[in-house]
């Protein structure tokens, strides 16, 4: 076996869709890359769940991090083969029962987008192996040194880092760059790149996606929210949408921390730990679970702007009518190299795929309703939206307006009491 080239990744997706037509759908992404490539994703699921959960797994963002797409293709093939064969699945010492595989495929839409940056991968695998970005020449001025955008700095999360972050947050060199010659060049605008537009399109087309994993290498880390600043659970006003905190983000131990709900924070770490345990069970590789803002091995801070996991997490916080997403960035391979041998890569595939199955199991809804319930709910929502058009009333109709009006009166009254209660404790 060898690493998959970009043609093989697309063929593999097509082959899986043809072989398992009743449980898959080949999704053609609408935005072609700078070099004219059309990307595909594969949806795995029977759509029988009520409610139906959604998981999106992407990889291949950074061209030189070769193994990600291979991990995803193997994962999709394993899941489909086990489900249709009504078997369980084992990776070294980590195993899953047939019932667990069945629960994933029947109650979760698993969308695998294995190679979001095929231009970059092709260039890395054939020309300059250490290439990181995509191959968009738009900002290059015809200079080879200035081709490409770092796809994982192009998402719309605090993208304009010169405005939104403290100047001191640049120190670690991980935030982003406005210089097209830099490896961290963030593009000319958020979502300026076909690759990020395609990921956004998947979230829009499949609004029930509630779990997101972006696979990178290397390090052996599972990183969760947030990546721009320290987490805090006390003050919802300190958040990425609040322009009053522009110029103050990205430094630890100061007045600003990014708000995350207490339950969200606990859930983010808990799911990360479950994935890490599944990986460790394969052959003992210990992946660290950490907030993305912190460097796991050193305790220092390294903020990022425009990263996929933060953007996925931010969608709900910016618009509570959207599905809450738990977004992660996994850095596979504890050996510090972008280019493991294929023999080593096969071991890594087993590690990570064991973690991905566990990740999907986390997405399986705890409660399952009869399917007629979902049909009734859909009819009710359709009627509700006809009576109260969302474009006029918002997604929740008049109740959202009533709730906001009540909140605007009650919260300012209650907040000082809560604050003084906390201080007394």
């Amino acid at each position: 076996m060898t690493f998959l080239n970009v043609v093989e990744i697309e063929s593999a997706l097509s082959g899986l869709a043809k072989t398992y037509p009743s449980v898959t759908q080949l999704i053609t992404l609408p935005n072609t890359t700078a070099e004219g490539r059309t990307s595909h994703a594969l949806l795995i699921g029977t759509g029988q769940g009520c409610p139906q959960a959604g998981v999106l797994i992407i990889s291949g963002t950074h061209a030189r991090e070769w193994g990600g797409p291979d991990i995803c293709i193997n994962f999709a093939a394993d899941l489909l083969e086990a489900y249709t064969g009504n078997t369980g699945l084992a990776y070294g010492g980590t195993s899953y029962t047939a019932a667990q595989i069945k629960s994933i495929v029947e109650r979760v839409d698993v969308i695998v987008f294995p190679d979001i940056n095929p231009d970059g991968r092709h260039y890395s695998q054939n020309t300059y192996a250490m290439w990181r970005k995509n191959r968009n020449p738009a900002s290059s001025g015809s200079q080879a040194s200035k081709i490409g955008v770092d796809v994982n700095r192009n998402y719309d999360f605090l993208w304009d880092f010169n405005t939104t972050f403290d100047p001191g947050a640049q120190a670690g060199g991980t935030l982003a760059s406005t210089n097209p010659a830099d490896d961290l060049f963030h593009g000319i605008a958020p979502f300026s790149e076909a690759e990020t537009k395609n990921v956004r399109w998947l979230f829009e087309q499949y609004p029930h996606i509630g779990w997101f994993m972006d696979i990178h290498s290397y390090g052996g880390d599972i990183l969760h929210a947030w990546g721009d600043d320290t987490n805090q659970t006390n003050d919802p006003d300190k958040n990425f949408t609040n322009a009053a905190w522009n110029g103050k983000r990205g430094l630890p131990n100061d007045a600003y921390g990014e708000y995350i709900g207490t339950c969200d924070l606990a859930a983010a770490a808990s799911a990360g730990n479950a994935v890490s345990a599944a990986i460790a069970g394969v052959r003992g590789e210990n992946y660290a679970v950490a907030q993305a803002f912190f460097l796991p091995s050193w305790g220092s801070t390294y903020p990022t702007s425009g990263a996929s996991d933060d953007w996925a997490n931010s969608r709900y916080y910016a618009d509570p009518s959207l599905t809450k997403v738990r977004g992660y960035c996994m850095e596979f391979n504890r050996v510090k190299t972008f280019f493991p041998s294929w023999a080593d890569m096969e071991l890594i595939i087993l590690d990570v795929d064991a973690g991905l199955v566990r990740f999907c199991l986390r997405a399986v809804p705890v409660l399952s309703m009869p399917s007629w319930w979902c049909r009734v709910r859909d009819w009710y929502e359709a009627i509700w939206h006809r009576v109260f058009p969302p474009e006029l009333w918002g997604p929740y109709g008049p109740w959202e307006r009533v709730r906001r009006a009540v909140e605007s009166i009650v919260i300012p009254i209650v907040r000082p009491f809560i604050r003084s209660f906390r201080e007394r404790r």
Partner: protein, 128 residues
């Protein structure tokens, strides 16, 4: 340490040509303050998302970076303690030989098989 190093992307120059100079992995060792100051003044290629930093028993730390020979010489000239490791560009060229040629899945006529073991497993890991 002095600051003779250009505060720009360490690897810009190598990509100005069609055949850029090779990149080497390099381990820079110093105090936390030294490494923090280095990262403040020079944008280094430190990998994917986080710099890889290892604490040493003597309370120093080592930072893994990717740089050209020219950049490594600049770092050494600025009195940073740099250990040059493997030529990662050469490693990449070797690994390019381990990339598939053609299309083993014949345009989608053949489906890939996963590497996981299929069988009847019980919760807890044993096969039945």
């Amino acid at each position: 340490m002095d600051d003779k190093i250009q505060p720009a992307d360490s690897n810009q120059s190598q990509r100005k040509e069609e055949n850029p100079p090779d990149l080497y992995a390099a381990r820079i060792t110093g105090s936390r303050e030294t490494l923090a100051r280095l990262m403040q003044t020079v944008q280094l290629d430190v990998g994917c998302r986080h710099p890889e930093v290892e604490a040493n028993p003597d309370r120093t730390a080592s930072l893994l970076v990717y740089a050209t020979k020219e950049r490594i010489r600049e770092l050494e000239a600025a009195n940073y303690k740099v250990e040059t490791l493997e030529n990662v560009s050469e490693l990449g060229r070797q690994r390019q030989k381990e990339v598939g040629q053609g299309d083993r899945f014949e345009g989608g006529s053949v489906a890939p098989r996963g590497l996981g073991q299929k069988g009847n497993y019980r919760k807890g890991g044993s096969a039945s």
